[in-house]
């Protein structure tokens, strides 16, 4: 992708090497407000709009998760431990399997079938709420971080179950989602 404002074959100047010519002057930051841009309503006729909303939902989810962890007194290391636990035990490994199932490259989240992605988002939020419900008393920082990690392990169990249903929802559309997953299902551990 090239800059349409530049003549063809022109190499753009490096950004921000001086005080002049900043992206701000180019109006690149949009609104003057620092408030997050609110997700817009999805237009079913535009795939880009769908992706934008899902992206926004995920960012909102992630923002809420980080805010919840910080509200529980997690420091940057604690947040790293909690999120690392989630991604390592759940989102990372299991979503990789999910993408593989749908023949997608990892992190091509917006390319997931819509209903699968919806389930994924719902359960990410469930995992987040599981952490958010956790109340802490005055403790040493390391205790707080370790406890958050344990809570996130529980949250990732929820996540594994979510991914099971995500797959079932795609493969067995007319089947009730209330049935239990098979005991030998790889994510059901």
């Amino acid at each position: 992708m090239s800059d349409p404002n530049l003549p063809e074959g022109t190499t753009p100047e490096p950004l921000l090497t001086t005080e002049e010519g900043t992206p701000e002057q180019l109006g690149l930051f949009g609104s003057e407000s620092n408030a997050p841009i609110q997700p817009t309503r999805r237009s079913r006729s535009r795939q880009a709009a769908i992706q934008t909303e899902f992206d926004s939902q995920r960012l909102d989810s992630y923002k809420s998760l980080v805010a919840a962890l910080r509200a529980k007194k997690a420091d940057p290391q604690g947040i790293a431990i909690a999120i690392g636990t989630i991604y390592k035990a759940g989102f990372g490994k299991a979503t990789t399997e999910l993408y593989t199932y749908f023949n997608l490259t990892t992190n091509s989240r917006a390319a997931l079938p819509e209903k699968v992605l919806k389930i994924l988002i719902v359960y990410e939020l469930a995992a987040q709420r599981r952490v958010d419900r956790h109340l802490l008393q005055s403790q040493a920082q390391t205790d707080i971080n370790r406890e958050l990690a344990q809570q996130c392990r529980i949250a990732t169990t929820i996540m594994r179950r979510a991914l099971y249903w995500a797959e079932r929802a795609e493969r067995l559309e007319s089947t009730s989602l209330l049935a239990e997953p098979h005991a030998d299902y790889p994510l059901n551990s």
Binding site: D3, E24, S31, K63, I83, G84, T85, R146, R153
Partner: protein
């Protein structure tokens, strides 16, 4: 561990402890019951720092260890690139008093595989979705820092090109 107020620098003891906690993250993710010691008492940790970064009596050793371990930790555990920029490169360093090490952390991060891609896509996401935690001047300063560090690594052309590719997106977001 909130070792320093906003805008202040970490003392050596705090730097050691933060380095230790950063190193310990992978172990705590694997097993939350991993014994938590201190930078002074965990012999395995001290051995790693000594072998990889040098004399434990020098602050520069700990600064290098912290920057390297922090960059790797951020690379491994924050796959949401939007917040990699906002939280980990801008907000946390200011809040927890390690802003002075951000250039070193960023340099280490850019040396990692696809580190440049992570940084640039994070900046693109920040500009696409708006800011949650920080301010526009802070983001601008970070982009400036990114260019300076990339230049030090002789990656300034790649950095400029990558950011130039985001210009249409950023311009569109402002429309």
């Amino acid at each position: 561990m909130k070792s320093a107020a906003k805008g202040k620098t970490m003392k050596l003891a705090a730097l050691k402890e933060r380095t230790y906690q950063t190193w310990l993250i992978d172990y705590l993710i694997d097993d939350p019951e991993t014994p938590v010691q201190t930078a002074a008492t965990d012999l395995a940790f001290k051995s790693v720092v000594r072998d990889r970064f040098g004399d434990l009596r020098r602050k520069s050793t700990w600064a290098a260890a912290f920057a390297s371990l922090m960059a790797k930790s951020m690379y491994n555990h924050f796959d949401e690139r939007h917040f990699l920029i906002e939280h980990n490169f801008i907000e946390f360093p200011q809040e927890y008093g390690y802003n002075e090490y951000v250039p070193q952390i960023l340099e280490q991060f850019l040396r990692l595989k696809d580190g440049m891609v992570y940084i640039v896509s994070g900046l693109q996401s920040v500009l696409r979705h708006g800011l949650y935690e920080t301010t526009k001047p802070a983001v601008l300063n970070f982009v400036k820092l990114g260019y300076q560090v990339a230049k030090r690594l002789e990656l300034e052309q790649a950095f400029s090109n990558a950011m130039a590719e985001s210009l249409p997106l950023l311009t569109a977001s402002a429309a």
